[in-house]
């Protein structure tokens, strides 16, 4: 899931995209942490995440329920989800801070926005993983409009061909931007792909509605 820091897009689009990871550390504090992670899951679900999933079950967009995600937490449990609004993200972080569970929390998003949230909640951030971009044979990468989608999956499971198909389906009027955004959501089993953000990006490909002729 290192990849949540490599999401690409405009500042405007990234400002509506926050990935929350709650992670028990293997061998440090993972023993007996499942109930703590379940409490975090409840907070997340109440706030209304854009997506939520798990390595063990898949995501809500693939038809998995929050109860199934809670029940299937692994030996070293973790919560993976994303939000489309800073306000909701802030609400969840406030709740997590109040619970004081001792579980490591990371938020991926625009640095200034995440630090502002920490400041509002009187949280002193510990460390940061910065993205220095993509290096190597970059000339063979797909175009930016594809990369905006594929980099929203933490494990590279959203294929460039599926994104191209989604864009083509929207252009052809076969799918609405929302339908196409949800189709692309399925392979990202952890649930950090943001379908709200994807829907907004896809909307620009939708055929313009023809003006209704005036009668009389």
């Amino acid at each position: 899931m290192t990849h949540s820091l490599h999401r690409r897009g405009s500042l405007e689009s990234l400002a509506e995209d926050y990935v929350l990871l709650a992670t028990a550390a293997a061998g440090v504090n993972h023993h007996g942490s499942k109930d703590k992670l379940r409490k975090i899951l409840e907070l997340v679900y109440e706030a209304g995440p854009a997506n939520i999933g798990s390595y063990d079950t898949g995501t809500v967009f693939a038809g998995v329920s929050i109860e199934e995600i809670k029940a299937a937490l692994a030996e070293v449990p973790r919560v993976r989800c994303c939000f489309s609004s800073k306000e909701k993200m802030l609400q969840v972080l406030k709740g997590i801070k109040e619970l004081d569970l001792g579980i490591s929390i990371t938020v991926s998003g625009l640095i200034d926005e995440v630090l502002d949230m920490a400041c509002q909640l009187d949280i002193k951030p510990h460390s940061i993983n910065l993205s220095l971009g993509v290096w190597g044979k970059t000339e063979e990468l797909p175009p930016e409009e594809i990369l905006e989608f594929v980099t929203m999956c933490g494990h590279g499971l959203i294929s460039k061909d599926l994104v191209a198909k989604a864009i083509a389906d929207v252009k052809a009027g076969k799918k609405t931007p929302r339908q196409a955004a949800e189709l692309v959501a399925h392979p990202c089993v952890c649930g950090i792909y943001n379908p709200d953000r994807a829907e907004k990006i896809l909307a620009k490909y939708a055929p313009q509605e023809k003006p209704v002729p005036q009668v009389g």
Partner: protein, 248 residues
Amino acid sequence: MQIDQEKCSGCGICIPYCPARAITMQDKKAQVDREACLECGNCARSLVVRCPKGAFFEEPGLYEGARAARKFFSDPMTTHAITRIPGRGTEEVKTNDVTGRVRQGEIGIAIEVGRPCSGASMEQIQKITKALAANGVVFEEHNPLTHLMSDRTTGTIAESYMSEKVVSAIIEFADKAERLPFLLELIKNIAKDLDTVFSLDLITCFAEDGSIPVMPILTQLGICPMPNAKINLGLGRPLAPATRGGGN
């Protein structure tokens, strides 16, 4: 992954889902190119592709040989046995507040080889690990890639894995902060000869005043980080000592 040819109806629904483009239609049936397949498991998941005939199945013995590396590094629904972590098998900054993997005065570097979209062969990964090892890099113990090495001091991947390919694998290490300019120059030179891409992560602890200590160095080097990042909020307990000497 394999496809039961008796079951396959040739509908082709699975083809666009494959990140490795390993599925093609031949004689009106979907076929998996075994060499290209990275064993990510996408195609076989009933909640993802939803193959109407349930025609996909895992190759018998997949978890017993070197090919298992494809599965463990490409399929996040498996868990690395050594680190007990799914996905790419490493926690990097995610739990740094309690593990102290990267502390004050240090930097952490994670090189995710193959991301985005390109995939990575062990040969390409080894090109990087060998060049890093030759320059004094010590690879992260709690990262599954380190455990594929037959010699960590030279960055040599065990011969048995050399024909394998993965969606991506993360080369990870911590070092002294003062080595950052040298290491980035080294990585820049390694990148010139690669046949794939990598996404580059730089991990650092916040300074006491809340600033990001590597920023002036990056500015000096002409490197501008992306405006987004992953931030560990420091809510984990027990907190690891801030320095290797144990100071807070």
